[in-house]
Amino acid sequence: MERSIYAESFALDVTAKDRLDTRRKIKYESELDKTFSNRIAESAHGEQLFGCIQCGTCSAACPVSHYMDYTPRKIIQMVREGFKEEVLKSSTVWLCASCYACTVECPKGIKITDVMYALKREAISGNYYPKNAPASILANNFFKQVLNNGRNSEGPLLMKMYLKTNPFMLLKNMMLGIKLFTRGRISMKTEKIRDKKALKKLLNSVESKKKILSAGKPADVKEAAV
């Protein structure tokens, strides 16, 4: 891991900023994860991703591409090449709002949104996701809540997310919360279905393909209680 050694010496030297950055910018082919693309293609049910012609229509259609580390077009190419770490640590994965604009416009019928979902799953199960990024926390807590109760309770869910990530946001959104509360549009009650146990059993009886693929790394969310 030459990178982390470099990072250490970098941290020790406070004036490093002013020095020439001599890190290697290009990955050697031997460092790429060649199995990554197949794994993602399978998980997203999207073998078509190998047919991408790099036209960039997806990036043009995407409403958030100009905030992303890598645009959707780049992500597709990087997945194909096996830039696993870069892709899974990118902001792209968590900025995708699942609006399906790219999927509808892609001339090659690539289900880009589903690829993004596959990357989210991979990032969570492989522990690549930014630990205090609200989007991944939200997905995780939502998952737990529904696994345990069968329904999502927006009030407690958001509260939890803000407490974990950015309590300041909680304060900022307090006024909003109060407005919603007084209008009966949000409650702090946890919603449940009748037979929670049966649902949990049902959900646990199916195994995600992802887990079989990345065996040995069970998602830590499974047992956590909400």
Binding site: S98, Y117, I124, A135, N152, E154, R185, L202, S208, K209
Partner: protein, 300 residues
């Protein structure tokens, strides 16, 4: 025809106004429905991000419940008003049809808990039901307070028409515009109909989400719309509840009423505001009331 109504989590909380107004409209139009008993969350966008097979089972349980609770009907028509629920249920159905191996796993799991999934349920959006089953002609007959002089920007959002829905065009949908015209309103022609509102990013990455909502509200204003009509709890929430934040971020003073299309239709059908959840909006749509009374706009 009888329908089964699948509310989903949002319509019971932040989207409560949608539920109230939709059910009031269906009552007035004598559309026969019952709520799906013991429904569970559809999984929305977040569940798919963690575990896909579980997400499909979660959604399929609702479809199986609907089949069971409608077993005496010739057709199983589920009304799913929330855009995310609608899309997820459709997606699940399509996915299971295309992937027999996954379908077998899901069917087996559901069987274990006493449910039967065949995939015969039809997932319907209220826009589809109102325009294609009920028909504009029938609706027009029942309009008592036409929305005369009110300019409406129909905003469909992303998942109502993308990518699996077949009842309307994915790029330039028109069902909502047709309903608004039937209600007597004037519809504005604009290009933001299916542009993303920022979805759950408003809660997570506000810096990215606010501009997305802002361009929509801004464009509606520019086209001199009096109201934005929405068909999704998240769109309505983002466009209505964050207007103050948008204004402080972009140093503007936009103010526009953002309502569910069912609320607007409800007014035209003569339903009293309270039954349409008007009192739950951040500010009651005074402009609309004024225009309907023949007065001047309170804000432009």
């Amino acid at each position: 025809m009888k329908y089964i109504y699948y509310p989903g989590c949002s319509l019971k909380s932040t989207g409560r106004v949608y539920e109230e107004s939709l059910l009031s409209v269906m009552d007035v139009l004598n559309i026969d429905y019952k709520e799906l008993d013991d429904w569970n969350c559809c999984g929305a966008t977040a569940y798919m991000a963690v575990d896909d097979r579980k997400a499909y089972v979660l959604a399929a349980r609702n479809l199986a419940l609907a089949e069971e609770q409608m077993k005496n009907e010739p057709e199983v028509n589920i009304i799913a008003p929330c855009a995310a629920c609608f899309m997820v249920l459709l997606k699940t159905q399509k996915f299971l049809e295309e992937n027999p191996e996954d379908k077998a796993a899901v069917v087996a799991a559901l069987k274990e808990s006493g449910l039967n999934y065949t995939g015969r349920a039809k997932v319907r959006h209220p826009l589809d039901v109102l325009v294609n089953d009920y028909g504009e002609a029938e609706i027009i007959k029942r309009i008592t307070k036409p929305l005369k002089g009110i300019r409406v920007a129909s905003y469909y959002g992303c998942q109502t028409v993308r990518p699996y829905s077949v009842f309307d065009d994915q790029r330039n949908p028109e069902t909502m515009d047709r309903l608004m015209k039937a209600a007597g309103a004037e519809v504005v022609d604009w290009s933001m109909k299916t542009r993303c509102c920022g979805a759950s990013l408003t809660g997570t990455v506000q810096d990215v989400a606010l501009p997305l909502s802002y361009v929509i509200v801004h464009e509606a204003k520019k086209r001199r719309a009096d109201a934005v009509a929405t068909a999704c709890p998240l769109c309505q929430f983002n466009l209505e509840c964050y207007q103050t934040d948008m204004n402080s971020k972009f140093k503007s003073d936009l103010k526009i009423d953002v309502l569910y299309f069912t609320q607007l239709l409800g007014i035209a059908l003569g339903i009293e505001p309270k039954k349409l959840g008007m009192n739950r909006l951040f500010t009651e749509p005074e402009n609309l009331y004024k225009i309907l009374e023949g007065g001047n706009r309170v804000y432009v």
